[in-house]
Structure formats: C-alpha cells, structure tokens
C-alpha cells in the first residue's frame, strides 16, 4: 500500500465521471472542476498526497498533441513524484496507454492509467449505462479503480499498466473486453500483472523492464488509416497520399493492383493484419500486436524515423514486448 506521504501526480484527461453523495454526476470539464471532483473522493487523500494536473476536458478527443502534453507533464515531474495516475477517456484508453508507453520508455516511476466506466460530456445514449452503473455497481467504477491503482503504485512494475475493474493489465496488451461488465478491458494474451481479489495480488516476478527504446518525444499526427473493406475505391490521388505522415492499412492480403499503388506512394506504410509481402522499403507488415499499438507505434516511428528504411527498422523491432511471438 502507498504510505500517506507518497506524492502521486494525477493527470486528468477525460474518463473522470463519478457520482457524488447525492448520486449526481461530476466530471472534470475545466481546471476549476478539479477541487470539487477530488473532494468527492476523500479516501484517496488518506492513501497518498495527490497532486492533480488538468490536461484536457472530459469531452476532448485525445490526439497526438494531448498524448505528448501528458508525456511532457510526467517527464517534468519524474524526480519529485513517487508515481503517476492517469485518468483518461475510457474508449481511448488503449491508445493513451500505448502512446505513453512509447513516449516514456524506461521511465523510472510507475505510471498507471485508469478511467470511469463511461466518458464524454454528453448524456444522450448513455442513460441505460448510467442506470446500470447506479443500480448494479453504485458508482462509475472510477473511485474503486483509483483506489486499486494507488495500492499497486508502490510495487515494482515492468512498465506502464492499466488498472480497470478487477485487472491490472500491461498497457501494450490492452484490448476492449467483448463481454464487458465491470471489466471493460482485457489483456490480448490473457496475461495480467495483477488481479483484485482480497486486495490487489500482483504476479510475483514483476520488475522494471530493462528494455532499450530510443527516447523519442514526438508522435506524428498526420496518419491516414485505411480499412480495406470490400468495394473500397483505392483511387486516391498520390499527392493526397504523400502529404500524410504515414499510412496504416488494416487489411488481409493485398491484391496486386493495391500493391502497385502502395509501391508508388513515398510515405511509410504499415499493413496490419496481413501476411508478409515483398513491396518496397518502408512498407511493413505486422499482425502480432493490438490495433491500438499498431496505430500508436506507426505515429511514433513516423515522427522520429530519418527515412523510410529507418521507419521500417523502428517498426520491426520489438522494443517493449509490444509484439507477441508468432
């Protein structure tokens, strides 16, 4: 457990919904909301000295700029902090987790992400979920997730983790849980760093990873994602394509005419989900990582590679255990 004098920085970037005493909703839309929001969870103050940092509003869609801002805020406080909790937009949690993993490699302090069961500032379409949370779980889950996150922060962890429901999940393996109830997320390979039972039980052999990753601090935001659905017209002008920082194609095997198009493009290309095909330098095939990791690693490699060959090298290397063995 975290001792009361531990200084924990709490980054807020969506996913902050919770019920107060009178069952009204609270979320952090602006910096002024933070004190009241934090006051509604007084038990957290007993567990640690929490220092909130407002990153963005509840309804903000997170992008490369926000993830970089988060990473910068964490990096700036590395020496004075005992750990970090990042509360972030629920449906984007796998992307945020992957982004921080690539932007903060070998980070000396523990970083744990978590969120409420719902996020976003709009109520419409969420009534049923809200009623279910109120009636079945007596809350949005955030309070419990944060308490569990605080309890594991002082234990050695191999890297950035996500605490959600009853699971402590490696950030780079985070995927949505299809049969979601209290656990909205699962680990892609079903390997968990910890589980909530009597308290939070961590795996016995966890330790800081010695993974070596170049310390790049940027993510490329101009990423074009192509879902190669049947009947999709591939006749985009080459000028439009070549303006992109990188292209990520979600596809099976690419037919010859599509491969011809890809050969003409000058930008780095990732084909996710297909088998390896020989195309040209800077075209990489991957299928042994989660989709959010593929997206974020493409943004990371595209922002930092010197050329297409370097991009290929960065993408292929398994730096943080983001790729699982075939």
């Amino acid at each position: 457990m975290v001792k009361s004098n531990k200084k924990i920085f709490l980054l807020l970037s969506g996913g902050t919904w919770l019920f107060d005493k009178s069952q009204h909703f609270l979320s952090v839309q602006e910096e002024e909301d933070v004190p009241a929001w934090l006051d509604s969870m007084p038990e957290l103050g007993i567990m640690a000295d929490l220092q909130p940092i407002f990153i963005c509003a509840e309804d903000k869609i997170l992008d490369a700029d926000v993830w970089q801002q988060m990473a910068d805020a964490i990096r700036e406080r590395e020496t004075e902090a005992d750990g970090f909790i990042v509360v972030s937009r629920t449906e984007q949690l796998p992307y945020t987790a992957a982004a921080l993993s690539f932007l903060l490699p070998n980070f000396s302090k523990n970083i744990i992400l978590t969120a409420s069961q719902i996020s976003g500032a709009h109520w419409s379409g969420k009534k049923e979920i809200i009623n279910n949370l109120k009636n079945k779980h007596s809350g949005s889950g955030l309070r419990a997730n944060m308490i569990n996150a605080l309890q594991v922060l002082s234990s050695p962890l191999p890297g950035i983790a996500v605490m959600f429901g009853t699971r402590l999940i490696p950030a780079l393996k985070l995927v949505p849980e299809p049969k979601a109830d209290i656990n909205l997320f699962a680990s892609a390979d079903n390997y968990y760093w910890g589980r909530v039972d009597f308290g939070v039980s961590l795996k016995s052999n966890l330790a800081k990873s010695g993974a070596k990753l170049p310390k790049f601090t940027k993510l490329k935001s101009q990423l074009l994602i192509i879902e190669d659905l049947d009947g999709l017209d591939w006749s985009w002008p080459d000028e439009l394509i070549n303006k992109q920082g990188a292209i990520l194609i979600r596809a099976g095997i690419l037919a010859n005419e599509k491969l011809d198009r890809v050969r003409r493009w000058k930008v780095p290309v990732i084909v996710y989900g297909g088998h390896e095909q020989t195309v040209r330098e800077g075209v990489v095939f991957i299928n042994n990582c989660t989709w959010p990791v593929a997206v974020i690693k493409t943004m990371w490699a595209a922002a930092n590679a010197k050329d297409n060959a370097d991009f290929g090298k960065l993408m292929k290397k398994n730096y943080l255990g983001e790729y699982w063995p075939y």
């Binding site: 779980h137 809350g139 997730n145 429901g165 009597f198």
Partner: protein, 232 residues
C-alpha cells in the same frame, strides 16, 4: 480414559485446522500488506482460541482447567481486536483514526491480555468438572470484558457498514459479503461463547469458533474463485 474425539473437540479441531490453513495461505500471499496481515492474525488467534477450548475440554487438573477457562478469552479478545484493524483497512482505509483511539485500543488490549493470562485467578473464581467442564467467572470482570468486546465488535461493524454504504463496484460486493460473514460470526460467537456463560451453559462453546469459518469461507472465495464471478 480421555475421549479426545468428542463432537465438541472434533468441531474445534476442524475449525482450528481450517484457520491454520487460511492463516498460512493469507500470510504467504502478501505478508507486508496490512489487510493480509490483520486477516492472518484473526485466523491465527482463531486457531489458538479453538486450541485453548480443546484443552479446556480435555483438562483433568483443576489448575489447568482454571487457566484454560481464562485463556480462550485472551485469544477471543485478540481475534476481535485484529478483526477491528482488519475492518479499518479492508479493502482500503476510508477515514483516518486518531492516534488517541489506537492508543486506547492497544492499552485496553494489553490490560485485557494481562488480566486473562496473569490474573486468571481473579477472572476465574472456580471450576467444576461435573456434569461437564464449567467455570465460575468474576461477574464484574466478566461483564467489563463482555461490554468492551461488544463495543469493539460494534465499532468494527459500524466501520464496515459505513464503508459498504460509500463503496462502489468491486468493493461494494466484497464489503457486503465480508459484512454478512462478520455479523454472523460475531453474533453467534458472542452468543455461544460470551453470553451463554451468564447462565452457566458451556455446552456450545465449540460453536463460537465454528461460526468464524464463515468469514474464512468468504475470504477464500475472493482468493480462489474467478474474480468476475464474484464481482460481476
């Protein structure tokens, strides 16, 4: 010849062994964790409670019987004190408790242990072997003990109830189950092993420790059942 395997002793032995197993199991999982520590101590002193009751049942010597008419109360007191600390920390500390309260609890505990271990002749005025093993307790001392124990139990229950009311998600389920098991364990424990003594009924002293097994059962289910089944 002494018959060890009477129904009373068999129940106490089984209870003791289950508590021993739980105590070891929980300690090994995470000895530094306060929740595990206090729950481990609860189960450990439950074991000692059962053992001292077995010795009370088996004793043929007046001096030993008198001592072991008192020692179960030492163990039961420690069970309740560690249950209180467990209630404070499980599954997280909801509010700070002032140092003065900790001091009071600890000083009363030390006095109670000294009274029931070293002052057992003051606490137990006499013993009988027939029709079954019985003890005659000092009314005032016993009533103070009973009142203080009830106070600590009620404090633990109040803490758990407040936590349950404020909890959400996984903690709500956990606290609900723990609360029910603690209520069952303490009500029956107090009835059979604390209040029946006022009417000199020693026939059911094996049932107090038995009912604490409910708490063990619930905790065991947290530890071994798939988490989604418990919390889903």
């Amino acid at each position: 010849m002494i018959n060890f395997f009477t129904p009373q002793n068999t129940v106490l032995l089984i209870t003791g062994l289950v508590n021993l197993a739980m105590s070891i199991f929980v300690f090994i999982r995470s000895p530094k964790n306060k929740i595990n520590l206090y729950f481990g101590l609860v189960t450990f002193f439950n074991l000692l409670w059962a053992i001292t009751l077995i010795i009370f049942n088996l004793s043929n010597d007046e001096k030993i019987l008198r001592l072991f008419a008192s020692l179960p109360y030492t163990m039961a007191w420690l069970v309740i004190i560690f249950l209180f600390y467990f209630a404070v920390y499980f599954p997280y500390q909801l509010f700070p408790i002032k140092k003065i309260y900790y001091f009071l609890i600890n000083i009363v505990s030390v006095l109670m242990v000294m009274y029931t271990v070293f002052g057992y002749k003051l606490f137990v005025l006499g013993v009988n072997f027939t029709p079954n093993h019985m003890a005659n307790y000092d009314f005032v001392g016993y009533s103070i003990y009973a009142a203080l124990m009830t106070l600590v139990i009620l404090s633990s229950l109040i803490i758990l109830i407040i936590k349950y009311k404020k909890a959400e998600g996984i903690f709500k389920t956990q606290l609900g189950l723990i609360l029910i098991s603690v209520i069952i364990g303490t009500i029956f424990g107090c009835y059979f092993n604390l209040f029946l003594m006022y009417i000199d009924n020693f026939s059911y002293i094996h049932l107090g420790p038995l009912f604490t097994l409910f708490i063990n059962f619930i905790v065991f289910s947290f530890l071994v059942l798939p988490k989604e089944k418990i919390h889903g």
